[in-house]
Symmetry: C2
Subunit: 141 residues, 2 copies
DNA sequence: CTAGAATAGCTCTAACTGCAACTATTCGAA
DNA sequence: TTCGAATAGTTGCAGTTAGAGCTATTCTAG
């Protein structure tokens, strides 16, 4: 029983590990689906989150990454003709990321692929609700 | 109510987003703590998981990453004198990663730092139990 | 009106990541 | 025994990431 001497730390660390593994699995799912459409994982994530024209900063917030990385991702999507940087109507510093028709169509197809089988599918809807509440509570600072 | 036309997909995607944000936060916490000890985030994670001598592959499993990345991390930790690659007693293909006394001491200090404030602290112990169960269920394939 | 702080986006860098290909060793079945 | 499959670790590569430092624009207090 020598390995049980730690009382609280291991559970916390195990939990962190589980979160990471699940996060990896979600990312791997997106990676695989996106790859079939010629996209990388972060390109796919960006496309999903572009529910409407938004600034680079807002997309970064939704994607859970730094704005500098969105610059990079947006560059690629723009090169491929999936989105355009439009001047922001109210703020000349900012730019609006706008999907092209080609990008909108690709997004539709990607969402279709992603809805087919989610890594969270093993959980019943009520369980997903509980999970959402717990995660939200954990993230409150 | 036009934005509510999607019934199931958005919740799923939101949930995935929450998992990612929490995962990022956990990683950022480790990154910050590890940095004070001159370690990168993955070096810190590796150190935490090295509860005993283990193969590179087992450490990869615990860290939730590919074995190839552990090769990289182990290289750095070995350079810094925190661990050694010992030949595996039973399998000449495998190597055992063994912490040096210096590495053991560093691990102790890191665990101390990490126990001080966890990103999961906002959750009560019972909530953490529920979270663990949900995550475990979600990960069953 | 005007400086100084804050913000949006960009560039650059060091580090991390998954994946595919490779070598060495072990395992398993004919 | 022996040969093919499976496994441990490594290497190389393209892609991702956070963070610091930069410019341009906006906001705010005086």
């Amino acid at each position: 029983m020598a390995t049980e001497r730690e009382t609280q730390a291991p559970t916390d660390r195990e939990l962190c590990g589980l979160v990471k593994v699940l996060s990896n699995q979600i990312e791997a799912n997106i990676r695989g689906r996106a790859a079939t459409l010629g996209l990388t994982a972060s390109q796919g994530t960006a496309l999903c989150e572009l529910t409407r024209p938004m600034t680079l900063r807002e997309l970064a917030e939704r994607m859970g990454c730094e704005p500098s990385n969105v610059t990079f991702v947006a560059d690629r999507l723009e090169e491929q003709g999936y989105l355009e940087r439009h001047p922001h109507p109210d703020d000349r510093r900012a730019k609006q990321l706008v999907l092209t028709p080609k990008g909108t169509e690709l997004r539709r197809r990607l969402l279709e692929l992603l809805s087919e089988n989610s890594p969270l599918a093993p959980l019943a809807p009520e369980e997903q609700d509980v999970l959402q509440q717990l995660l939200t509570r954990a993230l409150i600072r």
